[in-house]
Structure formats: C-alpha cells, structure tokens
Symmetry: C2
Subunit: 394 residues, 2 copies
C-alpha cells in the first residue's frame, strides 16, 4: 500500500533529502572524505571510557539502566553546572538540562517556540543540522550577514529592528560550516543589542574547546545571561555516540522544553549520562582535551598549508584557530556541486557549501572542508587532487 497521501503538510515542505542523496556516495570504498563533520575515533578516550563504564556499574548499579528524570541524570546536571561555572556561565544544577545531543536541544526548542510562519534569524551560512531541526516547524528564515569576524552586529540590529524574531541562532566559535569565530568586540556588541531589543539568542557552542592557537573567547551567554540559551555537547570532547547535549535556557522555556522532551523520548539514555557524569566529574574532560587538540592541530595546519600551496588563485578560505572545518569560496559563477561530482570520481568528497544556506541560489561557489577525520598525508593529497579538479574546471 502507498500511504503517501497520509503525510503531513510539514513533511511535504521538509524536502531534507537532497544532501542525504548526494552524500550517499561518500561511504564508497577508497573515498577520502573531507565531507563529514565527525570527530576522529582516535580522539575517544577508550581506555578511560571502559574504566568509567565499570565504575558506573559499581557506583550506580541498576539506577543507570532505569527510567530517569526527563530533565537529565542528576549527577550529570550537577557536574555540568560546575563545569559551566568554571567557564563563566554561573548556573545551578536545576538550570542545566540534558538532551539527546545538541540536536535534541534544537528540536525541543523549536517545538516550544516556533509556530508555522514565525521568523528565526540565522547566520548565512549556518549549521545544516540546525536547518534540519528547524524546518519541520515551518519557520521563516531571516538572514544575518557575516564576514571573517563572524556575525555582523549591525546586520543583527537591522534584523531585530525590522522583523519580529522568535530567536537568533548562532554558532559563535569555530562555526560549522565556516570555522569563523565572532570577535570579542563583536560579542560585546551583540550582547548589548539582544539586551536592548529583549531578544532571545541561541548560542550553539560545540567547538570552542577545540582551540589550536589564539586566546579563548568568552561565551555570549556570559555577557547577556538572561537573553541567551546556551547549548553545548560532549560529542566533540568525549564521544558523539553517547548522544549527550547540554542546555541552559530561561526558566519558562526550559520548563516547556522538558515537558516537550517527555513526549519525544522521555529522557536521554541513563547509561550514557552516567558515563558522562563520571567523565566530566572526574576531571577527565580537562585531561583529555590537550590530547584531542594535539591530535587535530597538525591536521588543521596540514590542510591550511595544502590550501595555500595548491588551491588556484581566485579562491579564498577561512583561517580558523580551531574547530573542525575550513570554508573555501571560489570565483563567482563556479558550480561547486559540479566540482563535487568530478572530485568524487577522483575519490575525494567534501560538502558543497550551498546546503548551509537557507535560501536557494546562495553559496553556489563555496565548500566546507573537514580536517579531523583524515591523516595529515591524506589531507595533503586530497587537497592537491581537489585543487587539480578546480584548475581543470576554471
């Protein structure tokens, strides 16, 4: 039987499968993927996870396998409150909620806030997973301009002045897809603007721990605590397969997000949360972080120098001080999806940048390159091949 006629209106509008389709070939044997957004398995502290898993059995017993509070596993909320406070986000454990990855935070946030047609402001480009979380709730996207220093405060103020915005969504540090970070000066201005307009800003912060050079930037949450929903995750500093997202939101929103989450998955895996509680609480996150940074630093350097060496003139690329991505932009008129298919034939994959824009026709000549999943020599040769494909096209 074909039940297509039963699909909801939102399903018809989602059309989220274009990128899934083009990325299907990435898994082919022999493919070098600069397409993913995933951490290297070498970054997972496997011995430590094993040891903490054993501890979870003795410390929590069957409680680690039972139904638990929707808000999150209490010991994890407690240690995350301490962890966040050390980073200038002063919260009590009751203000911290645990969700099923950052993705889970974004979904419940939309369910609580977005009615069809509501406006949300996003950077252009923005995180693809956020677009996928937002779209089923049928918002209207309003574009905020960015440059090498991240989101432009004046553009944000324009948007807030001229539109009724439910929330502003930003990845301020080592943004996915561009790798860009909002400068300290701009963060201060952004904080002032959202306070001035009584606006709500969603600060998605998965990457700020992955800094290879330069000085740490404070979260916008520290500058406008009442106006910011802060999201972080253990996916890049422990293991994504545990699916642990962390959220600090204003009380009324947080309370509704919990009620909403109860309908979505009751709660996040108790066992995963218990392991995460022991990892963060035991100080192992801080211990492991330098190892992860040392793992990624040469990859990051290798990609930047290969881009310098091989990429044809007319191309610009971001020079992030951390994170997982570099963003490259080719000359106007270049069709990066066409390049994608040619590169695939030579066993190199990346993500055409247009998928990170909410409006069709934008970012056609851009690409996102990931450097965490491949070895240094592989990155160098992959960039050389990509450059060759681009030159033949140019």
């Amino acid at each position: 039987m074909d039940f297509t006629h039963l699909l909801s209106e939102r399903t018809g509008k989602m059309g989220a499968s274009a990128i899934r389709e083009i990325l299907k070939v990435v898994g082919q044997p022999g493919m070098v993927s600069l397409a993913g957004g995933i951490p290297s398995p070498d970054s997972f502290p496997m011995e430590r996870i094993k040891q903490l898993t054993d501890k979870v059995f003795t410390k929590y017993g069957s409680a680690a396998f039972q139904y638990d509070l929707t808000e999150g596993f209490t010991p994890l909320r407690e240690v995350m409150a301490v962890y966040l406070s050390q980073r200038g986000i002063h919260v009590s454990p009751e203000e911290v909620t645990i969700q099923s990855g950052s993705q889970g935070v974004l979904d419940s946030l939309c369910k609580v806030l977005i009615s069809a047609g509501d406006k949300i402001a996003v950077e252009a480009p923005t995180y693809l997973g956020a677009i996928q979380a937002f779209k089923p709730y049928e918002p209207e996207f309003v574009r905020i301009e960015m440059d090498e220093d991240g989101l432009i405060p004046e553009s944000l103020e324009d948007v807030l002045k001229n539109h009724k915005i439910k929330f502003v969504y930003t990845v301020p540090t080592f943004q996915n897809p561009t790798g860009r970070s909002i400068s300290l000066d701009r963060r201060k201005k952004i904080a002032e603007i959202i306070i001035k307009y009584g606006a709500l800003l969603v600060e998605d912060d998965p990457y700020s721990n992955l800094r290879y050079s330069g000085d740490a930037l404070p979260a916008i949450k520290t500058m406008a605590p009442d106006n910011v929903i802060y999201i972080t995750t253990l996916s890049k500093v422990l293991a994504p397969g545990l699916r642990i997202g962390i959220c600090v939101a204003p009380e009324v929103i947080s309370r509704w997000m919990v009620i909403t989450k109860q309908g979505v998955d009751l709660h996040t895996s108790t066992f995963s949360q218990a392991i995460a509680a022991e990892y963060v609480g035991g100080g192992y996150l801080e211990q492991q972080l330098p190892n992860i940074i040392e793992l990624y630093r040469p990859k990051h350097a290798a990609m930047l120098s290969a881009l310098d060496k091989y990429f044809p003139p007319g191309f610009t690329f971001s020079r992030p001080e951390g994170g997982m991505f570099i963003w490259a932009e080719g000359p106007k008129g270049l069709d990066m999806e066409k390049i994608y298919w040619k590169a695939i034939k030579r066993n190199v994959a990346f993500v055409p940048g247009k998928y990170f824009f909410t409006q069709a026709g934008e970012g056609l000549s851009t690409m996102r390159l990931n450097f965490t999943m491949s070895e240094v020599v592989v990155i160098e040769s992959a960039i050389e091949i990509l450059a060759d494909v681009l030159k033949k096209e140019g």
Copy 2:
C-alpha cells in the same frame, strides 16, 4: 526576563503538566507507589549487561561511540529482524528502524503524519505517553470503544466509516492503562476492517512478552502486514534506561520518519544499541524472559487476590493475564482524584484513570494500579489501605 510571549501556539495547547504536578508527591520518602509504569530493577540482567558491555568494547571498539546511521545500528537491526520474524513479523533488517524508545517512534510518526486538526483514533482509555507524544502535533482525537476483550471492532469500523482518520493507535496486548488484551477473534476482525478501509493502524506492543498465564496472541501486524506500523521496545525486557525502541513501518512512512529523526536526535545512542544487539543476538532476551515472568507472576497474583479480598463492592477491576497494570473502576460519581490525595496521606500512590482519556470528564471513577515495582507484602498492604480509603469515602 519573561519569554512567555515567545511560546508557540502548540505549547499553549499542550497543557501536559497536570499529571506531572499531581505525581510529584509520589517520590516522597515512605511512599508506596502503585503509580509508576516502570519495570522492577530486579528484572534487569545486570551481570549479563556488564558482560555484554565488556564485549561491546572488544567487538566494536570506537565504532560503538561514534556517530552512526539515523536508521539504527546495523547489527541491532539485523538481530531485531530475526527476532521479529520468529514472532511472525517477517521483515528484512532494512525494514527495521531503531528509535529512542517507543516514545521516539510515536514522536517521529506524528511529525511525519499529523497536520494540526487531523484525526487520529485512540482507545478510551489509552496510553498516556502516546497522548503526550501526539498532543504537540494538535490532532483531533476520535474515541474507539473498548471492553474487557479490548478494542471493539464494530466501534473501529464506525469510526473509519464516519471520519477521515490518519491512523488508529492501539496497545492490543496487556494495554497500558487497563491491562486488557484484544481477543484473537477481534484481532482478525480488526485486521479485516483496516484492510477493507485502507487504514493505517499503529500497534504498540511493549508488554506481550510479559505473559503470566494463557496463550500467546499473534500481533495484528501478522494479519495485516501492509496496514500496520508495529512498535516494540526493549524497555520491559532488558532495561528502559538504554532507550531502545523498534519500529516496522510501510516504506514511505519509514523513510520520512528517518529523515525526521535526523532532525530530532541524529540517531539513538550507539553504545546502548550495541549492548542491545549483543543481548538480543546472543539469545539472552529469551533466556532472561522466564526470570522476569517469575519475578512478576507472584506480584500480579498478589494484587488480584488483595483486590478480591479488600476492595469494596461496587468496584470492578481487570484480570489481565500479563503486563504491568490492573485497572479498577469505582461506582459512578466517585472522584478518584479526591481519593488519590487521601491515599497519598496514607503513603499509597496510584494514577487516577482520567489522565488516560483524551476527553475531559471521562474515567473520573477509575484508577491504574501497577504491580511490578513493589514487593508482594507491600502490594497486599497497599491495596488494603487503598480499600480502606475507598470505604471511608463510599
């Protein structure tokens, strides 16, 4: 800042917190709870889980902690396909998807199928968690009548004849909240009716493994495979904290549910799924099931005999052959929520039955009693106390 004005229209309509509020007192020290719907921690095969967790580290290594396919962890889909086939549901691994608990299945199902105002048909009473999953999508609930033999086929046919129904939702075996099972004869009729009307039926089957007497009943899915979305879970036969739900749905719906789930949580905890794969694949579910049944059988018997012995005349209750719940109904005019607060004062909790109905004013004199979480002697004394409260009220 108060961001109440930013809440979505659906949030305003959810109002899902009444039961949360009344159940808050259940956690008080000294309370005997017949309110929960949770398995006894004594049913968790802790030694086995520990052993299989160790095996996951050696067998899958870092892959058990990495991002994974939204559809589910391949080894788990493979063993679940075999498991379901043994129960008459013949599917390939590709047709099985893993979600974050049954709750996750219900959420993504609604996202894919329900536009505001669409009609879904539910038993009266029905599973509270399903109501909580459905409500944010703003459906209209159409009531199907049931009696001691479960959902009444004639009522279902009436509903399908007179309404445009997106799907029919039923828990056919040891229903939550009533404990009732749809008889074999009725299952056949229901299968015929949904085929005749080209209707979609959602069969939620968490409890059928927990049978203490009588003969197994085949899933409706086995009788109308094209028209049934089959949902089951490992929460009652392994451990709910792992959050593993299993779904078999028609292809077009399943595909959209996966795309939807990608936006909701990317995928279910890989580590949880790997443990589940080893548990089901190693035949340990079948090994553990008799232990769980022997654990619950005396509790089930104790509650039924205490009800027989102590409950006042004018009360009826279900006599299920399995599951986790018994449903009691008092004389018309009795306000079971009033009884609830009096029982709480005497340290016994249950769930007033009205919360399992989608329409206000229904089930006022009913209650759901859980027997899996308390010891036999505790069940006996709790029922005696409840009976005493009811007699004083009557």
